[in-house]
Amino acid sequence: MSVIEIKNLTKNYGKARGIIDVNLNVEQGEIFGFIGPNGSGKSTTIRTLLGLIYPSGGSAAIFGKSCIQHPEIRKEVGYLPSEVFYYDNMRVIDLLKYSASFYKKDCTRRINELAEIMDLDLKKKIDDLSFGNKKKVGIVQGLLHEPKLIILDEPTSGLDPLMQQKFFELIGEENKKGATVFFSSHILSEVQKMCSRVAFIKEGKIIKLEKMSTLQDSSVKRISIEAKSQMNKEYFNIKGVSDFTVKGNTANFIFKGNINSIMKKIADIELRNISIDEPDLEEIFMHYYEKEE
């Protein structure tokens, strides 16, 4: 039985597009990446899973039970939204206890454990916390009942790199213990690191579903180089290069494929400067996935 089962799920917001005919299955124990640009329908899908919004058509089920008709399935679900807001006048520990009271089991030990890992002061008032610290409260809050399904919606926004690292370790451990993870993001590399499968969503439609292993050795990078001498246009005419522009001594392109092959190519040029960046998702979609359609 799949942990998440989404069938022909459609949601319209009046005339505006939400999601159209989304089909997804997430299996027990996997970390499933859900990736798409902002406004592509990721949050709409997740909110339907959580029973926050009602589908216009199709169905969404968790552990085989409809997300709409069975609020009790959320006992096994932990959710971390991209932006966290809590009752400002509460202390962190009171909020976490209130959260725990919904699950009818003792979570005190787990709260303390998680707070220590995330370096969170439980006695502070929510109101006094910085954005990053509120996010930590969100992480503890989402995991304190040891959920069997963890739903993450852009979880790393607002976390510093060190905390991101800790956070991913934490999620990895939960996964090892048997939790299934549904991980939504608009940053490809983030998903690449963790996920076993990944679905791409764009303009409300799933455009591709891939096993990570096939994506693994093909990373996508935006590369700009500045050479010491005039560059030959034809030099980078190899597989995986697109959006290529050359201007005097500088060249700019996106590369998708085995990173070693392009590095060898670049190593043969006398360089003045180089930058290798994560391209944003829009670019990746524009130059790769849409062409393959």
Binding site: S43, R47, E72, R74, F85, Y86, Y98
Partner: protein, 267 residues
């Protein structure tokens, strides 16, 4: 139970503040009573110079005004106005605050049904109103006994005070029903003040015209005629029934709409 306790905690302060406001209001008026009772005849004469419509609007009945119950009934129309504002505020805000404070993503992903959330919040609001009213009732009994010039009927006094609760239930339910139709209510006060004061004005205008039993149905502020209660020691059944209908219909509406509602992302 956990949600009920949580809500109650957050309502505690405002319930006490409202009780204090109502008590202060009652104390202010009641403190005038001994002086007025001493010069009852003059006072009556003064009031009888007012045009009848104005007297009706202010809820002044010359036959009773100098008795403590009659005097109390006059000031009680203001108490009810304030009480209605409290109840309406509560009703409008209690569900909508989760969206306004962006905490809906916390509460509504918990393993509880929407109807359980509405029930817990409704019960907490009821408790807050009952607390306010009980404190108020206790305080006014003490005050009325302190300023009275002769004995008064305790049962009637209770019946008058009970109309405060009836009115508050009506406005709590109305507020609840109104609030669920908004996607995200940015501020509560304009709506609650608007509706309450609007209905209050309508009620005042109705009393200027002839006493038409049908017209009185328009404004809840006209449902409980204190003079009638003093005279007959009972409530007017049709209006009591309409109150009950308004309360039930509003609450059922709130449940139905809220259960079916899409909770949108914060942005």
């Amino acid at each position: 139970m956990n949600m009920y306790m949580h809500e109650l905690k957050s309502l505690r302060k405002s319930a006490f503040i409202w009780a204090c406001v109502l008590i202060a209001l009652a104390a202010l008026f009641l403190s005038v009573y001994p002086g007025m009772a001493n010069d009852a005849a003059d006072f009556k004469k003064l009031l009888s110079n007012y045009p009848a419509p104005v007297r009706a609007m202010l809820g002044i009945n010359l036959d009773y005004i100098t008795s403590i119950l009659g005097f109390y009934s006059m000031i009680f129309s203001f108490i009810i106005l304030f009480g209605a504002i409290q109840a309406m505020n509560l009703g409008v805000s209690i569900l909508s605050k989760e969206s306004r404070d962006r905490t809906a993503d916390f509460l509504l992903v918990k393993p509880v049904s929407r109807s359980a959330i509405v029930t817990a919040k409704l019960l907490a609001a009821l408790t807050a109103i009952l607390t306010t009213d009980i404190i108020f009732y206790a305080a006014t009994i003490i005050m009325a006994n302190a300023v009275k010039t002769g004995d008064f009927d305790g049962k009637l006094f209770f019946m008058i005070n009970l109309t405060l609760l009836f009115m508050q239930l009506i406005f709590l339910a109305l507020g609840l029903a109104i609030s669920v139709f908004f996607k995200r209510l940015k501020s509560v006060l304009p709506i609650s003040l608007g509706v309450v004061i609007g209905l209050y004005m309508i009620g005042a205008l109705i009393s200027i015209g002839k006493d038409d039993d049908v017209v009185r149905f328009i404004s809840p502020f006209k449902y409980f005629d204190i003079t009638y209660i003093i005279k007959n020691a009972s409530y007017e059944t049709p209006y009591l029934a309409v109150s009950a209908v308004i309360i039930v219909v509003s609450i059922v509406t709130a449940y139905i709409i809220y259960i079916k509602k899409d909770i949108h992302a914060v942005s």
